[in-house]
């Protein structure tokens, strides 16, 4: 029998005992719905977690530190690596070398320092960090109020919302009552901040001219430290915290990278490096951030940098265990979701076995007029499959609806708890396709026994049966 005929006969047979078949189909749809609901919850939670990580902006970044820096991220390295005193310095040539590694988009020095910023004559102490112009594409700056730096050397700053609140004398709030960033940004954009900082000036060649003087009798290099002031214009206020993963060293004020470099701000590493004879006019960085073109390559790049004799750290290391957790969670949710579908599949078996008993004579007639075992088997398969597909479609719709309701309910709860609303429910297309295919597959497997039984029916017996 041809497929269209098969489908037509199957649907006609399903219509014949519409109540029983509808109930079975609803059973399947409930099973599919629970599967879809469970898996979309798992996927939604995973997306929520990785969305948070992505927004941190450090997802595709490797932080490189010198092994001379004793507060290493990767403490395991200390055992295998050469002693800190013999390892390489993280200076400008090294940065360029790293930048030329394959798949590296850029490597920029991590310039950050704690300093005082004056706004309307009130001092505010905070961490300042330099950002390359590429950071503009960072998700954290997507919703920036105002704009990003006009150029890499412009005397401009982008400040974080909490700092903006501090400048305005407001107490930062969290939860749903959180102040809208636009409200905080409006009075600050275009205003001036005065930054005070300690400038490091190379001393040996030029005579110290501004107050501070260096010990001329010292061996090797020396420098002087000059206190300076710089006026900066607030051009943007960022809502999200681009450095949320950095913990206590996170910055709340951001400067353009080139500008920050030209300032020669005194860095913590400077003090240590001064004791090295080799310390020349080239700056030495405490750490270098390496942005990779593709997060999948992050491991290879980390390895390459480690071979060069540096310590590395990437957020991807931290997310790997998270991914593992979600894989296990998805499996468990999937198993629970499938249980209902397993029960539904027993319903299919039951319905079809009943149908065989009821249609025994009909099967006998079909065989007498020339239907082969295969025709009969395929007909029952088609009926099972049709119930599976219909149940699958209904189930996906139902599962999606359940998800929406739970999402809504949870957000109402979150609102009561003064937490921001979250979208932790996701029904991606592949899940819809998977659910439909799975429902179809399960129903076919359920049809296996009834179809085989119908096909083996002896026509003489079946026709004698009145």
């Amino acid at each position: 029998m041809k497929l269209p005929d098969l489908a037509e006969l199957a649907l006609r047979n399903l219509r014949e005992s519409v109540l029983r078949n509808s109930l079975t189909t609803i059973g399947i749809s409930v099973g599919v719905a629970s599967l879809v609901a469970m898996l979309s919850l798992g996927i939604g939670l995973q997306q929520l977690a990785s969305r948070r990580l992505m927004k941190s902006g450090l997802f595709d970044t490797v932080v490189v530190t010198s092994r001379r820096d004793l507060r290493n991220f990767g403490r395991d390295d200390e055992r295998t690596a050469p002693p800190p005193g013999e390892s390489r310095i993280l200076d400008e040539p090294t940065r360029i070398e790293i930048e030329h590694l394959p798949n590296v988009m850029e490597a920029y020095p991590d310039i950050r320092f704690i300093t005082e910023l004056r706004y309307e004559d009130k001092p505010h102490l905070t961490m300042v960090a330099a950002l390359p112009s590429s950071a503009k594409s960072n998700d954290a700056f997507e919703a920036v109020q105002g704009q990003f730096f006009s150029s890499d050397i412009a005397p401009e700053v982008v400040i974080q919302k909490t700092f903006a609140e501090e400048l305005l004398g407001k107490t930062p709030k969290t939860g749903l009552d959180e102040t809208n960033v636009a409200v905080v940004a409006a009075p600050l954009l275009g205003k001036e901040l005065t930054m005070r900082y300690a400038q490091r000036e190379a001393a040996p060649s030029t005579a110290g001219n501004a107050g501070a003087s260096s010990d001329q009798g010292a061996a090797g290099a020396a420098y002087s430290v000059v206190s300076r002031e710089l006026k900066l214009q607030i051009v943007g206020v960022a809502d999200l915290d681009p450095e949320s993963m950095r913990g206590p060293t996170r910055a709340r004020v951001f400067l353009p990278l080139k500008l920050a470099e030209s300032l020669h701000v005194m860095q913590p590493t400077d003090l240590r490096e001064i004791s090295r004879a080799a310390a020349g006019s080239q700056p030495v960085y405490s750490s270098v951030s390496v942005r990779v073109k593709n997060p999948a390559e992050i491991h290879a790049i980390e390895d390459a940098i480690k071979k060069m004799g540096f310590n590395t750290f990437s957020i991807l290391d931290a997310t790997r265990s998270l991914q593992q957790f979600f894989a296990v969670l998805d499996v468990f949710l999937g198993i629970f979701g499938s249980l209902a579908l397993a029960v539904a599949s027993i319903g299919i078996v039951n319905t079809l076995v009943m149908a065989i008993l009821e249609r025994r004579r009909e099967i006998g007639i079909m065989k007498a007029i020339g239907a082969s075992d295969g025709d009969v088997k395929r007909l029952f398969f088609a009926e099972a499959g049709a119930m599976g597909i219909l149940g699958g479609i209904l189930g996906v719709i139902l599962g999606w609806a359940i998800g929406q309701v739970i999402n809504l309910g949870t957000n109402i709860y979150l609102k009561r708890q003064s937490l921001p609303p979250e979208h932790f429910w996701a029904v991606p297309w592949w899940l819809v396709a998977f659910a439909l295919v799975f429902a179809f597959g399960v129903s076919l497997v359920s049809g296996l026994y009834p179809a085989g039984r119908a096909a083996r029916l002896d026509p003489v017996q079946a026709l004698r049966y009145e």
């Binding site: 047979n13 007639i365 020339g370 082969s372 295969g374």
Partner: protein, 225 residues
């Protein structure tokens, strides 16, 4: 313990020639229906052979038997055996679905077959809406739709009054004479058999009792099936 073996048909040996109209007679339980089922390929003999067109049905696979029933045999039954949930047109069309005949062709063939048995106005009715005679006519139309060489009838008039029974039998004879179709009919009505069949075969307790040529019979074209 053990099953009781019932020999429904025991050592029956008969030969039917192409174009013949044969009646199998006997009381109920004589094994006449079993012989018919063997010829129809619905049943297999435990021993011996059933040869149709030089093919031994006992040696065919289940799939081959189904094809044989589809293309070589047409069957009508005492209880009509139309599928209740289908209209007459759909019932007649069903064997063509199994034979994988194109849809467009099927419609016209089904219409033609039902017209031939005088049911053109009942095509979209379900069997339950029809009289017994009409149902049996539809069953005849279905039996002949794939142009079989062999028409097997199991008590075709058993559920009909004598008038409609005659109507059906006239049709069967017409197919036998005009289309040269071989007919094997099971009946317990001797009168009916004598009126239509060229050969009368009597069975009792699964054994062949007598095989006689009917005096009324018109000489059929002789050729081995």
């Amino acid at each position: 313990m053990g099953e009781t073996v019932i020999r429904a048909v025991d050592g029956v040996s008969l030969e039917v020639f192409s174009g013949e109209f044969v009646a199998l007679l006997g009381s109920s339980g004589s094994g006449k229906s079993s012989v018919l089922n063997l010829i129809a390929g619905l049943d297999r003999p435990t021993s011996g052979s059933v040869v149709v067109n030089d093919r031994d049905l006992a040696q065919l696979s289940r799939e081959e038997l189904a094809r044989y029933r589809l293309h070589t045999v047409g069957m009508v039954f005492q209880s009509f055996n139309l599928i209740a949930s289908m209209t007459l047109a759909e019932n007649v069309e069903l064997p063509m679905r199994f034979a994988e005949i194109e849809r467009g062709k099927r419609d016209s063939l089904a219409r033609e077959a039902l017209t031939r048995v005088g049911l053109q106005s009942r095509m979209s009715h379900r069997p339950s809406e029809l009289s017994g005679g009409e149902q049996q006519r539809a069953a005849l139309a279905r039996a002949l739709i794939n142009r079989p060489q062999l028409l097997l009838a199991d008590e075709p008039t058993g559920n009909l009054d004598s008038h409609t029974g005659t109507e059906i039998m006239d049709m069967v004879r017409e197919f036998n004479e005009k289309l040269g179709m071989t007919v094997v009919m099971v009946t317990h009505e001797r009168a009916l058999a004598e009126r239509y069949a060229q050969r009368l075969i009597f069975l009792a307790d699964g054994k062949l009792v007598s095989d006689e040529t009917n005096a009324n019979a018109v000489g059929a074209e002789r050729g081995r099936l």
